[in-house]
């Protein structure tokens, strides 16, 4: 059992009459990334709070770095690093002061803390902002500092709770780079996210949660196969005629919005051939989209 960085058995948490988390079984090997994927309220944060000793489970058990979170919380805390959902640092300290505080609280000697702090500020592109108050940081800078704060002291298990929620695409791409670097250090990483694309990019395995339950798990490739492929969305008045012409492709029709959604494994080529086939029908809108998390949930929960 100790060969896992994180292992849970039927882990659950009830609040009153609701199961925030139910029968969660996880196995995370050292040096790998587990993505916990789900909407708000799916149980992701509850799982992370239990695994980081902030919340007691009401059923099942969880071992983190071989220690039981319920009976040895102190030992667990010595082996984990956590970045919370909002950049949970002190607004009224500078970036550097925040890192120093967390490093020194974790018993880094002063000199070691100073050099680690400089190294991480550099690595996350925050050297210029190091002596500004956190309150003046942009969303992306905050999250990068948050990540840096997790790394002040190296721990075998790292938890990142929605590290990119609310970031713009450029800042998100930045974070992805930083998170990928982190795994090369050999730590096990548990990452929660609402974005399928993010879990796909970063995780070795994904557990999909919905309403506190595990609805699917597997490698990103396995899950994507089950979710299905890209789809073309078309809007036009003659949607019924269009559905007839494309019936071979098994379109889904939405009468209310006069639109159809058609699987498009071939991407842009499929889009082009569909538009060619509907050339005389006056198509108002046509778009090609990756499966969204909603598509994924739909596919995974109804499969």
């Amino acid at each position: 059992m100790n060969s896992y960085a994180v292992r849970t058995e039927a882990l659950g948490r009830r609040f009153g009459d609701t199961d925030a988390l139910r029968d969660l079984d996880l196995e995370v090997a050292p040096g790998t990334v587990l993505g916990l994927l789900g909407h708000n309220g799916a149980g992701k944060t509850t799982a992370v709070r239990i695994l980081t000793t902030l919340l007691a489970p009401t059923s099942g058990r969880a071992l983190v770095a071989g220690r039981d979170v319920a009976t040895e919380p102190g030992a667990v805390r010595e082996r984990i690093a956590v970045a919370g959902q909002e950049a949970s640092l002190d607004e009224r300290l500078t970036g550097r002061e925040n890192l120093m505080l967390l490093g020194r609280l974790q018993k880094l000697p002063k000199r070691a803390a100073v050099s680690r702090c400089d190294e991480l500020l550099e690595r996350f592109g925050l050297t210029d902002a190091a002596d500004r108050l956190l309150g003046t940081y942009s969303g992306g800078m905050r999250r990068r500092l948050d990540l840096a704060a997790c790394l002040m002291v190296r721990r075998p298990v790292v938890f990142l709770d929605e590290p990119t929620t609310g970031l713009d695409p450029a800042a998100r791409a930045d974070m992805w780079g930083a998170i990928a670097d982190l795994v090369t250090d050999g730590a096990a990483l548990i990452l929660t996210t609402q974005y399928l694309e993010e879990a796909d990019r970063l995780a070795d395995r994904i557990v999909v949660l919905s309403g506190g339950r595990t609805v699917a798990e597997g490698t990103p490739a396995e899950l994507k196969r089950r979710v299905g492929d890209r789809r073309v969305h078309l809007t036009l008045d003659a949607f019924e005629e269009a559905a007839r012409r494309l019936s071979r492709l098994e379109p889904e029709v939405d009468v209310r919005t006069r639109s159809l959604s058609v699987p498009a494994p071939g991407g842009p080529d499929d889009l082009r051939s569909m538009l060619d086939a509907l050339d005389d029908l006056d198509v108002e809108e046509a778009s090609l989209a990756q499966p969204t998390l909603d598509d994924a949930f739909f596919a995974l929960t109804t499969a």
């Binding site: 949970s88 300290l93 505080l101």
Partner: protein
């Protein structure tokens, strides 16, 4: 133990760094005592006589010292609630540090801030004509008593912040507790003139006992002291109040902190 002390030092240092960065906090700490001394000494004080004789300014300054002690409640409650709200409290709770040091760091910082405020009051007091007339030991005793009481009161603030969790809510509740405590007391006016009912509350108000103890120790006029136990034995009563506050709020706060997510 040494590790815990070091954690408390780091965490109180963190809170103290906030002070110059929050202008309203500087105002609260350093200017409020000045405003209260001047307001009561020259505006309201001109209409107040100390029964039994003596200088009202001398009477007042001990009251201002005592007032500052309960004045720490809103600041500390808001600070604790903000840390919970921002997620920083969770981050600290997931660190391998002693359970009490996060809260203790707050209280120590608040005490340091309070001592700075008290020094301002001392300076204002000296300007308006107050001076300690007791022995050196009595004078030090008065300040010691104030600090003991302040330490006890900060724990009530910690508990309030942990319970309410919302900074604005914590501020509102703290204010509605300390205002009656301030004005239904012998801080600004002798309690003997209050109507029945209110007078008894004021007589048993811990702040009245503390202000009276300071007046005794500084050798300031005390007015006519009502014949009730806490005001006949104000030093003992103040210490008893401090002990009671600590006995109640330290265990409550520690338990609440431990069970924050439970």
């Amino acid at each position: 133990m040494i590790a815990t002390l070091n954690e408390v030092r780091l965490l109180s240092g963190r809170s103290l760094r906030h002070i110059p960065r929050i202008p309203e906090k500087v105002f609260g700490t350093l200017l409020m005592p000045l405003v209260f001394v001047l307001l009561f000494a020259y505006v309201f004080g001109s209409a107040i006589d100390v029964p039994g004789g003596g200088d009202y300014h001398e009477y007042l300054v001990s009251g201002i010292f005592a007032q500052a002690m309960i004045g720490t409640i809103p600041g500390i409650a808001v600070g604790v609630a903000s840390d919970i709200r921002s997620g920083l409290m969770d981050r600290l709770r997931a660190l391998p540090i002693s359970r009490g040091s996060v809260v203790a760091g707050r209280t120590v910082a608040e005490l340091v801030e309070l001592i700075a405020g008290t020094l301002v009051t001392v300076a204002c007091g000296l300007i308006v004509g107050w001076a300690p007339h007791g022995s050196v030991l009595e004078t030090l005793g008065a300040f010691g008593l104030l600090i003991v009481m302040a330490f006890a009161v900060t724990w009530a603030g910690v508990w309030l912040g942990l319970m309410v969790r919302d900074p604005d809510g914590a501020d509102g509740i703290a204010m509605s507790i300390i205002f009656p405590m301030m004005f239904l007391s012998g801080i600004f006016v002798p309690v003997g003139g209050l109507p029945d009912g209110l007078r008894q509350i004021a007589e048993w108000n811990p702040v009245t006992a503390l202000a009276t103890a300071c007046r005794d120790l500084f050798g300031s006029p005390t007015g006519i002291v009502p014949d009730v136990w806490p005001l006949q034995h104000p030093i003992l009563a103040s210490l008893a109040w401090a002990a009671a506050l600590l006995a109640i709020f330290v265990p409550l706060s520690v338990r609440r902190y431990r069970s924050l997510g439970y």
